[in-house]
């Protein structure tokens, strides 16, 4: 506890002077950051790693780069070091947004830290015809972007989020909350490709009401350490929650995907597909929790996590976790991990295709399945490009 508290002390001067932040800070100092024995961070001992590697007093750099924005018509929100920069942002008239004082959020340590440090919250209220893009240009020791997206009844949005770590030894602790009203639809896609000295803890929460649908696609390529906490609460009936993820890692990248889908009412559906390809000394963690509460009869919940290990030095931890209190439900989960199929490689080679290309073809095919729900072609192409860049 003491060592984590020391780390917290380095943030003390950054705490906001509003009641929610102060309250969150008080709670955080009581519970502390996850320590070595914290079950939820068993394979990702994040606090000591951050303590050792982050330069909390890093001078921010001016690193906004217009070229990093997707050239797609839509609303482009640019955050710099965790704060929305309205001058750099370009929005469409169909999206309305306000900046609010940060409010109480979740009570897990990193959410509390975000609430303590995020000065404001961007609240986007929309159902929009054009997609929304959110960029984070982060170059300080710690950035704490805080965002809330309200999708009104019957409306739908596509939202793409991208973090651009633009300095060494940075840490981003982001928090984004989707409020998916009745009959609303939201699709959230994230592309994570950082440097080998960038760290992040990224929380995505979705609250989904009757007949609402929420999709999350998370594509992770490189990071010193990234922890993704994805929490989908299917609060209503006939809701859908979809989670797709790919982690394609090499070097010493470490990605920890921690997902939770909570079925609270009858007749909801959740589907999860995460795939990992681990090379060199990388580490991949998948922990998928499915809760089916007592009232959530006729729930259908599916989960699968498939992994390919390309190196003996790569590490994989995968753990499905089902907790079911209702009796009339259909749930399935499965995880696999293995190597590439040598016989399939041989088959391709007998057609003149060299081993490297054959392996890349098989891995590409394996990875591609996780892109099924990405509707924006530009983003899909970008992810496919990153896959090929890593594989070839």
């Amino acid at each position: 506890m003491i060592e984590e508290y020391n780390m917290l002390r380095s943030f003390e001067h950054l705490i906001n002077d509003n009641p929610s932040s102060k309250e969150a800070w008080k709670m955080l100092t009581e519970i502390g950051l996850p320590h070595k024995k914290s079950e939820a961070y068993k394979f990702t001992p994040i606090a000591p790693i951050l303590e050792k590697n982050i330069n909390w007093s890093l001078e921010p750099k001016n690193t906004f780069d217009e070229k990093q924005l997707y050239s797609v018509k839509g609303s482009h929100f640019v955050f710099v070091n965790g704060i929305l920069n309205e001058n750099l942002s370009r929005t469409q008239p169909d999206v309305s947004f306000i900046i609010e004082e940060v409010r109480e959020g979740r009570h897990d340590p990193f959410s509390l830290l975000n609430t303590s440090l995020a000065s404001n919250e961007l609240v986007i209220t929309s159902g929009t015809a054009s997609p929304i893009f959110i960029y984070h240009f982060n170059s300080t020791g710690i950035s704490s972007p805080r965002i809330r997206i309200k999708i009104k009844s019957g409306e739908s949005i596509q939202l793409v989020e991208k973090l651009l770590e633009t300095n060494k030894n940075t840490f981003t602790n982001s928090f984004i909350h989707f409020e998916v009203a009745e009959n609303a639809f939201a699709c959230h896609t994230k592309v994570q490709n950082y440097g080998n000295s960038n760290y992040s803890h990224e929380t995505v929460v979705a609250d989904v009401e009757n007949n609402g649908h929420f999709y999350n696609n998370t594509f992770s390529f490189e990071s010193a350490l990234t922890r993704n906490n994805l929490i989908i609460n299917l609060n209503g009936q006939n809701c859908e929650g979809h989670m797709y993820g790919l982690f394609l890692l090499d070097k010493k990248s470490h990605i920890d995907n921690n997902t939770t889908v909570d079925h609270l009412q009858p007749n909801s559906f959740s589907n999860e597909l995460y795939k990992g390809i681990l090379d060199e000394k990388s580490t991949g963690v998948f922990n998928g929790k499915i809760y089916v509460r007592q009232d959530a009869q006729k729930t259908n919940a599916f989960q699968s996590n498939n992994n390919i290990l390309l190196s003996k030095d790569a590490t994989l931890h995968t753990k499905p976790q089902l907790e079911i209190w209702a009796d009339d439900v259909k749930c399935s989960h499965g995880c696999t991990s293995g190597q590439l199929d040598e016989y399939a490689i041989f088959y391709l080679r007998t057609r003149g295709i060299d081993r490297n290309t054959a392996e890349a073809m098989l891995l590409h095919a394996f990875a591609k399945e996780t892109l099924e729900q990405v509707r924006l072609e530009t983003v899909k192409d970008e992810v496919l490009g990153l896959i090929d860049q890593k594989l070839l």
Partner: protein, 251 residues
């Protein structure tokens, strides 16, 4: 074209090929027959370069070059083609994409330019007609969920695309209905020329009525125990393998 001398191969220390001698010249068709488990597919795999098999003795010369020194892809690029007895299912890769990569890798190895989309499509159409294969099959994942016959037909389609010098067809006839058999045999015959050769592995005389062999070899317990002309196949059809087995036991 290919000259196999005293070829011996094992898998996991189990000896499977125990001294194979076989000479195939351009323009020839050879049939290899023999009871289950005698080593026919093993021979085909060793020639295609499967690394699971360890070659423990003998030599294979292909156009004067040591074949056993080459990787599977190099063998393919130099004109060897194996139609698999059990084609592999590859989810997420369409036959079309797969063939495009294959053709261009082969062309690249010969210092030729990659085929552009238009010419590739033209080639596809031409070869699809030759083996009467459906476009919809080719846009699906390679062999995934294909029927037995569809897989075999897809093998011959790939062969037609790659135009090999030495084609080894491992039981391409099994699982084919009569019409499909004719189409496949017809395709093989159309691709035949004085410059290439075909080795067909089969259990049935049926196929050899369509693809008429110049030589028939009987492989038994890892050795070619008898060679002859096409009449040997008819003899087998009539008498079965018992007499071969008895003869072999006497040696």
């Amino acid at each position: 074209m290919i000259s196999i001398k005293n070829l011996q191969a094992s898998i996991k220390d189990k000896k499977i090929l125990k001294g194979i001698d076989l000479e195939v010249k351009a323009g020839e068709v050879h049939a290899i027959m023999g009871p289950n488990g005698s080593g026919k597919s093993t021979l085909a795999s060793v020639l295609a370069g499967r690394e699971d098999y360890e070659v423990t003795g003998g030599s294979v010369e292909y156009f004067g070059e040591d074949l056993l020194d080459l990787d599977p892809e190099e063998r393919s690029q130099k004109g060897i083609f194996l139609a698999f007895q059990y084609p592999v299912e590859i989810p997420g890769v369409s036959t079309t994409n797969f063939m495009k990569t294959a053709i261009n890798k082969v062309r690249e190895s010969r210092g030729e330019k990659a085929l552009d989309a238009v010419n590739f499509l033209k080639l596809m159409k031409e070869k699809m007609k030759l083996v009467d294969i459906d476009q919809s099959l080719l846009s699906r994942s390679l062999n995934e969920g294909f029927s037995g016959g569809e897989k075999k037909r897809n093998e011959i389609f790939q062969m037609a695309m790659l135009e090999p010098k030495l084609a080894i067809l491992d039981e391409t006839d099994s699982g084919l209905d009569i019409d499909a058999l004719k189409i496949v045999a017809d395709g093989v015959n159309k691709l035949k020329s004085k410059d290439n050769a075909t080795v067909v592995v089969t259990h049935y005389q049926r196929l050899l009525n369509y693809i008429v062999p110049d030589f028939v070899h009987i492989l038994y317990k890892g050795k070619i125990v008898r060679s002859g002309d096409k009449n040997l196949a008819s003899e087998l059809e009539e008498k079965g393998y018992d007499w071969i087995k008895e003869e072999a036991a006497l040696v």
